[in-house]
Symmetry: C2
Subunit: 314 residues, 2 copies
Amino acid sequence: MAAVLALSGGIGGAKLALGLARVLGPGELTVVANTGDDFEHLGLSISPDLDTLMYTLAGLDNPATGWGRRDETWTFMSALGQLGGETWFRLGDGDLAVHVERTRRLRAGETLTAITEDFRKRLGIGARLMPMSDDPVRTRVNTAEGWLDFQEYFVHRQCAPIVTGFEFAGAAAARAQPDILRILRQPDLRAVVICPSNPFISVEPILAVPGLRAAIAACAAPVVAVSPIIGGRAVKGPTAKMMVELGLTCTAATVAARYADLLDGYVVDAEDARSLDGRDVVVTPAAILMTSLADRERLARAVLDAADALRRHP
Amino acid sequence: MAAVLALSGGIGGAKLALGLARVLGPGELTVVANTGDDFEHLGLSISPDLDTLMYTLAGLDNPATGWGRRDETWTFMSALGQLGGETWFRLGDGDLAVHVERTRRLRAGETLTAITEDFRKRLGIGARLMPMSDDPVRTRVNTAEGWLDFQEYFVHRQCAPIVTGFEFAGAAAARAQPDILRILRQPDLRAVVICPSNPFISVEPILAVPGLRAAIAACAAPVVAVSPIIGGRAVKGPTAKMMVELGLTCTAATVAARYADLLDGYVVDAEDARSLDGRDVVVTPAAILMTSLADRERLARAVLDAADALRRHP
């Protein structure tokens, strides 16, 4: 039962994480969530990527929005608006239970890791799910209007400001979640998968936690990423817009270049494969657009096959 | 426009408070809420009596339960249970908005009075509504099983333990809300109304705040209480059970005796009036069971008439 470690942000990454969870045996998969998006709002500790992964892995995700829970109600938000509270960050009634209970337990001194581990068991999630760190890391976005907190940029301003850069406040002092380092040291580790998440705001905050990037580079397993870019476009979210604003070409190759020191394999859509000719990384063309549950499982198998092939023929 | 000050707990008191609000002009009524029931739960600051009064005065109360909001949903509670959170204190999704937003504002340094004043305006409540104090007072119940926090006794244990006494922790150090003292000093104050609330756990916590009892005794207006006991029975809640357990007779007279130093008038049901013969207080028989909205207004008028008569013929 060799372990697979997946790094993921929210929506796109969570789709592949679910595929991996479904094709791997119980206990084989560990998903590391970006917590750079975390923030305090209405006095509550909110971890958007961790929650999207949790809901997705539990089958509780909302397919219409890509975030939050299915079968959600919105009575809280409506009553909050009536009281003059801030309603720009939409919190569903069921979703709120996670934030209230997590906040209570964090204040009582439990770690985000321990709370997440308890929640995932209660929700019947077989894969392990953990934050990249129990210490706060906060992604901040430098824009033409100055520095913005991540959710201010992402949700409140809907990614409208022109991006010039990012910082991961707190990252330098953050300690990697120890279990991640432990898994990365396993000699029979099967694969490290970088899910098709936004490189700037989902994957790089994880890699910014001291020791994680080096531990991934040094691990025994093949490191395989899946491109979040298909045919020069991002499937969802602001990845393409950010690339343009940062003066980067919007290609699968641009994403691969950001992990060049780590990657052994790169799974991309057939139409993007040509642009990666001549690179050091082994490119595997596959159907990477995940629409159905079967798509998620098929891509997960393609990623694991690519890793296994790299392990046999490094 | 002479002021009327009403002291109230939750359900029964709120019915009369609504009646008073409807028969008095805008700005004439100030309702003082018991905050001895307040507690911290799930990391939220909850003020049950204040909220019952607020919802009732705003027409948002739930007539089926007597607490919480109408048109409520329960998605939060259901999701919280799934996560292993505490579900013995039922918090509806809309109700939760009050607790989350109030808690946020209290942590930001606002007073409970200021937050309540803002909420009541936003909810279109014409009467003023204020806590007895901005300092924490916590009713504790001594029982055959030892001391219990109020909500532990009241909600979690459903008033099952045998009561032997009460204490109002923090009361000695609490400062009365200054506006209450200011209103009580008005020479043209029309009436102080003690609503038909439980004496032990709703009215006496208010009277335990230093200075309030003396200010009521010294005020220029008649002090008129409405009996929470009708025909030897409590309309709702544990009043009768507590009286029996404390070795008191379950009569309207027993309640009046607890405010004997304050009362000028006492409005009781016709069938209870006989038991009060020969007391110093002026007894006004009236239909005090409030079923309909018209009942609430009728009783409010009877109470104000009783006060006005006492003012003319003290």
